[in-house]
């Protein structure tokens, strides 16, 4: 198996080198040479944002080091364009692979081929002339939720203004500290400007026993509450307009990201970050987010210890794991279905707590060190209207429910003792939209059964019965076997 996979990889590499792509006329010297990889097992691109000049010549290479097939489609900068493109891709049906999962619609501007492990594909194109944010996605089934990014297009002048931190400068200090000193009262060793506007310790060229004070200007788009994130090894503090916003002083590793909030007006604000390093590992990571500003990194990752992720991948068959999951019940069962839909069952309350689109689980927190910490869901959670075990008697009464176990033969199915009757509840991905399909089997049912749900923001359908708001009444003759489909009305957010 492993040898075979290796052979395939080798073949793929040989093939791609044999069919080395050459640029079309006029693109021999592109303005931008962008390489985008895939974070293995995570259903994420390794680059989720890049910037090109309006009308510039772009060479873009998708490198697939993941175990799954991926593509990359750059879309128009319309609202909800990725949902439109993803939906069109899903409609392609069984022949989708022939067209590389690319729907033939005007929303798709440029695209790579769908490529498998070890392959890469290069495309050349002229960037749109209209500045804006052009999303890109992978349209392989289920990948759209998390394999996204944005190509920003701007004119040259605008690009320059979009530095993360304008007029960024540093002052370097030498000394041994266990806490941050008052740098302003100390003589600095040297100072300088940082042109690309990104805080990066590697530019200081120091390993141990030094300190630095970074100053610069950030441009706030919209007034309101802003959150600043800070992590460092060793100590650091972050000030905006002279006010302390986050402090992470003392000697430590980058154990836990700290954050602080501050109300800012639209416009430019003075940012200052003080940092010191003793010996050993060094890291400084800062970012911010605001009302009209998605989290933006203000530092370079190179110096930082990568957060360890131990992803479990789902391929052709469902994966069922009993684990602690972040913000979920203690007796959780995390189920990963093929095509990027996952859900979390609560074996205590006998209900589906939530679903998520994207990759499955990071089990690192459960496995590393002493373990036992909650696993992280990888992707975007969606609600399924959970109000506990969803079945009621014909007259709307709740009955005690007790978990009896589950089966992993085919679609995962949970068995529940519901007021003395056995209920088999199997849960699959909905066939359309983002959601789940519940199949209930109640062999001993001989009366009407009600299914109840918090129906806000959900689209509901069923094989039988009448809906009234969030209550489905299943007539007795169909109560032994019926299905309910729960999909999110809005889909996963852009």
């Amino acid at each position: 198996m492993r040898t075979l996979a290796r052979l395939l990889i080798l073949t793929a590499i040989t093939l791609s080198s044999l069919t080395a792509q050459s640029p079309p006329p006029g693109f021999e010297k592109p303005d931008h040479d962008i390489k985008i990889g895939v974070r293995s097992g995570l259903l994420r691109y390794d680059t989720e944002k890049f910037t090109v000049g309006a009308g510039s010549k772009v060479k873009l290479t998708l490198v697939n080091s993941d175990e799954m097939v991926h593509n990359l489609l750059i879309c128009r900068d319309d609202d909800y364009v990725t949902a439109t493109v993803a939906a069109a891709a899903m409609m392609l049906g069984p022949d989708a692979s022939k067209t590389h999962y690319v729907p033939d619609i005007p929303e798709v501007l440029f695209h790579t081929k769908a490529i498998s492990t070890g392959q890469e594909d290069t495309i050349w194109f002229e960037a749109p002339k209209k500045p804006g944010a052009y999303p890109y996605i992978c349209t392989l089934p289920g990948h759209t939720f998390t394999m996204t990014g944005v190509m920003r297009v701007g004119d040259a002048a605008e690009l320059k203004q979009d530095l993360p931190i304008e007029l960024l400068r540093y002052r370097l200090y030498k000394g041994k500290w266990t806490m941050l000193p008052d740098f302003d009262s100390l003589p600095h060793d040297r100072d300088g400007g940082i042109e690309d506007g990104i805080v990066d310790l590697s530019k200081l060229d120091e390993e141990s026993n030094f300190g630095a004070s970074f100053t610069g200007i950030i441009k706030v788009e919209a007034a309101g509450q802003h959150t600043f994130f800070l992590n460092s090894d060793d100590g650091s503090r972050l000030l905006v307009d002279g006010k302390m916003v986050v402090e992470y002083d003392g000697q430590h590793g980058p154990a836990k990201e700290q954050k602080g909030e501050i109300e800012l007006t639209a416009g430019r604000h003075l940012l200052r970050v003080d940092f010191f390093q003793g010996t050993g590992g060094k890291a400084l990571r800062l970012a911010y987010a605001g009302p009209d500003q998605q989290r933006r990194q203000l530092s370079n990752d190179k110096n930082e210890i990568k957060t360890r992720v131990t992803p479990i991948s789902v391929h052709h068959h469902p994966v069922v794991m009993r684990v602690h999951v972040e913000e979920a019940a203690a007796r959780s069962i995390a189920v990963g279905l093929p095509h990027g839909i996952n859900y979390c069952f609560d074996a205590d309350a006998c209900c589906v707590q939530f679903g998520w689109g994207g990759a499955y689980l990071d089990v690192g927190p459960d496995r590393d060190g002493r373990g036992g910490r909650p696993c992280k869901t990888l992707g975007q959670r969606f609600q399924v209207g959970n109000i506990g075990f969803p079945l009621r008697t014909a007259d709307g009464r709740e009955q005690p429910s007790r978990f009896l176990g589950y089966s992993t033969d085919g679609t995962p199915s949970f068995t529940i003792n519901w007021g003395g009757k056995e209920v088999h509840w199997s849960i699959a991905a909905s066939k359309g939209g983002v959601g789940l399909e519940y199949s209930f089997a109640i062999p001993a049912a001989h009366e009407d059964v009600q299914f109840v749900i918090d129906h806000n923001d959900l689209k509901l359908a069923s094989s039988t019965g009448q809906w009234q708001d969030g209550t489905l009444t299943v007539p007795a003759q169909h109560a032994k076997k019926f299905t309910v489909t729960v999909t999110t009305a809005t889909g996963a957010k852009k």
Partner: protein, 495 residues
């Protein structure tokens, strides 16, 4: 179509052929003569923190892992039997029916291979009656099964002190500022599950009872790990209704339902508890012991038949426990056996050929040894009788030290060969206990039996005291003792 491709994938992934599965291991620093250690090859590329072992009647070994899988080993071939379990810490294959049970964090589960493809696809909940939060310390251990088909297991307390837990959400039922508490029902209890699946709390007062054991008389034992309210790691006898000393669990005891557990004094808890039968001096012998296994090999594993073997998760050693019944209560001695193996040990099992299989996981508490997980087998050559302290028992006037083979008569009859110290531990909310009033114990007389295998020592005796024996005796063939230190927990005296 789909089904057949599924099977194909399964076999391709799950079966690892082993060529020469038993690799000879580097032998431990301390190992009695006649014993050797073999390392068992594990499936390639699988994190395999062994957390449970059980042999099926056909000899197939079932091993569960902290990573949530169950593997079988048969004819030198590993096969994946189940996956997706929540940190199972014990597995039991019923000797008559071959049914497979595990205790995982949330429940006692039967794993059922319904379609006979060698892989469980049905997970039947036998009981999930105990409470659970997402606190990492809420381990569940077991099961063992008695002759009537009842299951038993133990439940860890919650790590409650916010300074260690990192949150106040689990700070429930900490007593006198101990570290562990009870954030969910029956934490700190042992339990019984009847064959029809009814859960019954069995005994209370446990802290971190990482291993449960049973003997042929259906007597139950478990070890507990040193910490708050546990002076040093130890072995408890689990009598129905017993309170073992850690108060947080009393929250779920009907007699304490309306009481503030902090209103009861430390001294009172000391009186209420059934003291540990055998203490394992922390740092000297054990730091975090796993399950006690009775040597039921009838001599196939050497001269220690009927004794208990316990592995330690931190020290990676295996030691022996020899029980001594005094006034109807068990107490006894502990003696190191093999020190140390390749990784930390919480589970072991005797195979039908009399070898002791030792499951290893070093994850979490930094075990000694070169690997973070593994599986080894300790084998006796069937002939060599090592010179060892077989057992120490209490007499009315002192102790009876028994050797595994005749001793050198001159040395074994001299008082100087026996250096004895004593001390006592304090039962309190603090994390562990120092040794109090440590002092030498004089030996006033030694009488060696005619077969030169038993030395009767006359010494002063004090109840509630640990005795440490440092014995410098050689065998009649000049062999030295494989382990010359033993510890006797003297709870009760003969009247």
């Amino acid at each position: 179509m789909i089904h057949s491709s599924h099977r194909h994938t399964f076999f391709a992934v799950a079966v690892t052929l082993l060529v020469g599965s038993k690799l000879s291991a580097q032998q431990p620093a301390t190992i009695p003569a006649g014993y050797r250690v073999e390392t068992i090859a594990l499936p390639d590329g699988v994190a395999f923190g062994v957390s449970g072992l059980s042999f099926a009647p056909d000899g197939t070994l079932y091993a569960c892992t902290r990573e949530g899988q169950v593997w079988t080993l048969s004819n030198n071939e590993w096969q994946l039997f189940a996956s997706g379990l929540h940190e199972p810490l014990g597995i039991y294959v019923a000797p008559k029916t071959s049914k497979v049970f595990v205790v995982q964090r949330p429940e006692l589960t039967e794993l059922i291979d319904q379609n006979g493809d060698g892989r469980a696809e049905r997970f039947r909940t036998v009981t999930d009656a105990w409470g659970l939060t997402n606190n990492y310390h809420e381990y569940a251990y077991g099961p063992v099964c008695d002759s009537k088909g009842n299951f038993y297991g133990t439940l860890n307390t919650t790590l409650s002190w916010p300074g260690w837990a990192g949150s106040e959400e689990w700070d429930v039922a900490r007593v006198h500022d101990g570290k562990m508490g009870r954030a969910a029902k029956y934490r700190g209890w042992s339990f019984r599950v009847t064959p029809d699946g009814t859960f019954e709390p069995w005994s209370s007062g446990l802290r971190s009872p990482a291993g449960i054991g049973i003997n042929a008389k259906d007597e139950l034992f478990c070890t507990d790990n040193q910490g708050d309210w546990v002076a040093t790691s130890c072995l408890h006898v689990l009598g129905k209704g017993d309170f073992h000393g850690h108060p947080s669990s009393l929250t779920d005891h009907p007699d304490y339902a309306d009481l503030d557990l902090n209103s009861i004094t430390v001294e009172k808890y000391g009186e209420l508890r059934e003291p540990a039968a055998v203490n394992f001096p922390h740092g000297d012998l054990a730091n975090s012991p796993g399950e006690p296994i009775v040597d039921d090999t009838k001599g196939k594993f050497g001269p220690f038949a009927g004794q208990m073997f316990v592995g330690d998760q931190t020290r990676s050693n295996v030691f022996r426990v020899v029980l001594d019944k005094v006034q109807g209560h068990y107490q006894g001695c502990a003696i190191n056996f093999i020190d140390h193996l390749q990784s930390g040990i919480i589970r072991s099992r005797f195979a039908s050929d009399g070898s002791l299989w030792v499951g290893q996981t070093g994850r979490g508490w930094r075990s000694r040894g070169k690997t973070t997980f593994g599986l080894e087998r300790i084998v006796w050559d069937g002939a060599t009788v090592p010179f060892a302290i077989h057992s120490i028992q209490l007499t009315k006037s002192g102790f009876k030290v028994r050797f595994t083979r005749p001793a050198n008569a001159t040395i074994a009859a001299s008082k100087e060969a026996y250096k004895i110290e004593r001390w006592h531990y304090k039962h309190h909310a603090n994390y562990g206990s120092p040794k109090f009033e440590q002092m030498a114990v004089p030996v006033s007389d030694v009488q060696l039996s005619e077969d030169r295998m038993t030395a009767h020592l006359s010494t002063p005796l004090h109840a509630g005291t640990m005795y440490q024996f440092n014995i410098d005796v050689t065998a009649d063939n000049d062999q030295t003792l494989s382990n010359h230190v033993a510890w006797y927990t003297l709870n009760r005296l003969y009247e």
